[in-house]
Amino acid sequence: MTAVDTDQPPVATPTSWTARVRERISRIVPPGQALPDRQPAYMSSWIYVFGVLTLAALIVVVASGVVLALGGVTWWHVSSLGHFVNSLHLWSVELFFAFMVVHLWGKFWMAAWRGNRALTWMTGVVAFLGSIGTAFTGYLSQANFASQWISTQAKDGLNSVGVGAFFNVMNPAQMLLWHVVLLPLVLGVIVVLHVILVRRHGIVPPIDADEETAS
């Protein structure tokens, strides 16, 4: 039972934009749930590590990409260190997609969209698509035979639906900027939203589980 202090005036709804934003932010994730140090006991399976593995792989992808960006587009063709960094970028991307798909498989079989988690599922799918698009612009930026073939093939598909009119895959100067600036930014925002939603709703309980009554 709480003691009521009758001398305090009622708290008015804040009119300050700053206060309102602060209130909204603090309500995005339940208190203590952003980085809890406990988790539901039903999370006892290795399938649960694939989300964080995907995130970790994404970080390695970005880090290796940053090093490639330091040297520029032609660097890795002439430097053996640069070529090694390119290899890091390629293999971290393969791992990223592998972990992400295993994560998707797990979430499907757990029907993880239950309990108001549809948006978590959907942001995950959008992140998957965004990743494919980002990888695609990366392949176009290689400045080698693969880029030549991929661009001249992809233009047919994209032109058939009018997209090629403003997204020119044969223009490396445009594709490179989509790959290192535009798409990573968009993908980053989607991934952040996805993770926030996970923390907001908590990890989905087992199918047909009943909420345990308080002891």
């Binding site: 970028h89 757990m110 058939s160 908590g202 087992p206 047909d208």
Partner: protein, 323 residues
């Protein structure tokens, strides 16, 4: 105090509502440590794979490479550009209005997007680069003859020469049957010479600008020939070879593209002129389906019908048997 972010609904008939995850027994777990371990594991895996297998880097085909490896193809392509019969010349939007392009049922998306990358194949890919050649008087005369001829005459010369090349053994210009091809043979030969000097990409990309960066013209020209595709098909990169999934050599490709490229392998897509638009439309539909799984009856129930989850949560189900 509840940490629930859920709006409680009355259970639907036959489907219990999902309880709040914060109402279950918990145990300690170190998320940050888990993340750091994951990062270390992925980094080690990446370094190991990169050191063991490296990454592909097949050199781009230069115009000079093309001219050396397949000179007859270069000549045939130049003639085709002048005749307006190449892929780029007849493409339609966004390069020209030679065709309407693909349609998705009533949706003429390619046409509606308009000509935003205007290109005159004959002029931009062949004649303008050649106009810069100064030490070949025969070529200069041929170009003048071409420019002063009427459109129908040009098309006649170029088409006849294209056909003659196709008939010649190995497409060799030296073995072409005699005929009236006007200045086209000299122009096409001059084009091959320009490609051999290594100056063609520059002429196409910079075209009086200084800074290049946009390789559209060079790529369209290269793709108008047969050599690029021949090289790609030899590496299993062709559209009907599941090419979208593949990489040169034995390097890992893009396994996640399997479903997109699958449709191109089977009818009706494999035999359709409109395959690109059809496959795009189908994949957009399937992707929408994937995103909306939570709302699609039947699809969203598959995890119940095929209970893989009973393995995942076996510990929980063992400790909490169904009443």
């Amino acid at each position: 105090m509840t940490t629930s972010t859920e709006h409680r609904r009355a259970p639907r008939a036959g489907r219990p509502s999902t309880p709040d995850s914060h109402g279950f027994a918990t145990r300690p777990y170190d998320l940050v440590k888990e993340f750091v371990v994951a990062l270390v594991v992925v980094t080690l895996l990446t370094v190991g794979l990169a050191a063991a297998f490296s990454s592909p880097d097949e050199k781009a085909i230069t115009m000079r490479d093309w001219a050396n490896a397949a000179p007859n193809d270069v000549v045939a392509t130049a003639a085709g550009e002048l005749a307006g019969t190449t892929t780029s010349a007849g493409f339609g939007p966004p390069y020209n209005t030679a065709a309407d392009g693909a349609a998705l049922g009533p949706l003429k998306l390619q046409k509606w997007a308009g000509v935003t990358i205007p290109l005159d194949s004959a002029q931009d890919l062949v004649l303008i680069p050649l106009a810069g050649v100064t030490d070949n008087s025969a070529l200069t005369d041929a170009l003048a003859a071409w420019q002063s001829a009427g459109a129908d005459q040009r098309t006649q010369w170029a088409s006849d020469y294209s056909d003659a090349l196709a008939q010649a053994p190995d497409g060799n210009p030296d073995s072409v049957a005699t005929g009236d091809y006007g200045p086209v043979p000299v122009i096409a030969a001059g084009f091959l010479t320009l490609a051999n000097t290594g100056g063609l990409e520059g002429a196409l990309t910079s075209s009086g600008n200084f800074y290049g960066g946009d390789q559209t013209k060079s790529l369209l020209l290269l793709a108008d020939g047969a050599y690029l595709e021949d090289q790609a098909r030899a590496r299993n990169l062709g559209g009907d070879q599941w090419g979208m999934m593949n990489e040169t050599g034995n390097y890992p490709g893009q396994p996640w593209m399997w479903l997109y490229t699958f449709w191109y392998q089977v009818p009706p897509f494999s035999t359709s002129e409109n395959a690109d638009a059809l496959v795009w439309g189908l994949m957009m539909l399937l992707t929408l389906g994937l995103a909306l799984v939570p709302f699609i009856p039947g699809l969203r129930s598959i995890p119940r019908w095929i209970p893989v989850h009973r393995i995942i949560w076996r510990d929980y189900y063992r400790d909490h048997p169904r009443r």
